[in-house]
Amino acid sequence: MAQKNLLGKITEKLTESLLTLSGALTTIAILFITIFLFKEGFGLFKSPAIEDGYGLYVHPENPVNQLHPLDVKNMYDEEIINWNELGGANQEIMVFRIDDVFDYYTDEDLGENYSLLPEKLGYIISDHKNIIAYVPEEFAPSVTQGAKKVKVHNTTLSDFFLGKEWLPTATPSPLFGALPLILGTLLVSLIAIVLALPLGLGVAVYLSELADERMRKFLKPVIELLAGIPSVVYGFFGLVVVAPLVQKAFNLPVGETAFTGGLILAIMALPTIISVAEDAIRNTPTAMREASLALGATQWQTIYKVVIPYAGSGISAAAVLGIGRAVGETMAVLMITGNAAVIPSTIFEPVRTIPATIAAELGEAPSGGQHFQSLFLLGCILFLISMIISIVSEMISKKKTYKSL
């Protein structure tokens, strides 16, 4: 009898510790996500800006020793054409890639296993004072062979957050300017909220103040059904129906725009906004309503002068949660916003959002490379935004509880 009790006690204690551990589960998950995301993401700032295994080399007499990734890209795109724009001599820049070596030498000239390649590259570089050569480090000529390595700055914080060009696979040096992505995400979410908030608020008021029991029983499932439709289905609907409609209605060259994305996101955010706002409005004490009516106000005046201000914090929470939903949406946005990484000047242009970028590019980014890290950094931004939104909406709700006391 005593043994059974002991075994029972041990099992109990074990089970209880197991339960305690599972309680910590979500906290552990958040911790892990934070660690993984931030460790990988911030590695971007420590990685060399030039593609792994390659280097940039110039003539030893060239005064330029360091270059910014943006400069490198502009040089190779022929946007910067003279060395004096970078602090060098007044001469035209000659751009060279490893494949160009075959313009100077044949395969045999380079020896078996390309053993003569560094020497030949050295000749080419020393022959051209204005050259900049992008070659694999394995075959790079040394200083004695007539070349000098140029250091390229790492991507910095301001490069990432304020850079205007997102070219993650550009060679020789990719650019990770996330500003167009950040602005694209914000623009689409803004459009979504501007469309969804008035609509959602109106429906919430209707549901809580005006609708009879039958209407309510009918509308509630409708809203829940809207909430349940998967994101990819919304994307499909947007791609096949809404984008062509928008294109025709506004006479645009293309229907995949920020506006189209915002439109679909608004529909997706509506259920959240409606249910939270409706809860807030319903929780207004009847006493306040009756007092207002007793003073002679109409029902509508009561609503917009008394009820809505009282439910203000709840409504703000609804808006905040709606924004949160819109910002994190991936599939629908991927399919209908055109995915152009450009800072939008009007809402009728294609944009690229952060979630869509991650979804589109993650598969091809080699593990641990710069591109991979930059996508994690984008993930960090998303994660932070969602944390902030979650905390802010909680704080707003807490304020409400104190108020009602």
Partner: protein
Amino acid sequence: MKKIILGWLLILLYAGNLHAQRVKGSETVLPITQKAAENFIKSHPRTNVTVTGGGSGVGISSLMSGTTDIAQTSRRIKFDERKKIKFAGNNLREVEVAFDALAIVVHPSNKVSQLTREQLSGIFTGKIKNWKEVGGEDLKIIPYSRETSSGTYEFFKESVLKHKNFMSGIMSMPANGAVIQSVSQTRGAIAYVGLAYLSDKVKPLAVSYDSGKTFVKPSVESAKNKSYPIVRPLYYYYLSKDEAKVKNFIDYLLSPTGQKIVEETGYVPVS
């Protein structure tokens, strides 16, 4: 109830099936691989071929991280990718499985029928902005591109743009099919797609690589006899240690039956 769940778990955990192989990568090669896999399974019942897209970059990246056995690509593997595989102690094998022509397409109502490489480069880098600059009507040019993971994107950049970057703000479509869809709906559109994706919803242009002396239209014949300038091989890459696993399927694809599938899908056979 518990027994049923346990039973299911055991079935699921059984890592059975010999000759299971995964092919991942290029959206361009995807139709070939899928059709070949379908037919291969029919004649080799104890095998399994998993096919996933995502783009050539995804394929090679997966080959490097070991999550695929064959990487299908529409571009040559890059030097640093080759190096990474070598550093990990593996040997890379490259097989050409088909040829593909890259067609330049516009909206069917577009009056322009031919462009030189220089004009194409200007259009896609954003320097040429209006169709009237190349002999068309006064209409803004809307270029479409593919995502950076696409081998088609890389090949176009290398061959037509000569390594220059696409204009910032160009629209990136996830796959060839989506490109066709968008071009067919947009009057000022211009895009590049694999030959197999041509349909009568879009109009292909004749291209000149010799500054306007000869213009050639894309077709399986002009790709075969190399008169069409934008032709590229399609590759399967695998690691030598997986040779036994993938040999059967690759040999099947290179056999006359397999190459017939290549041709039926709209690509150019290797022979």
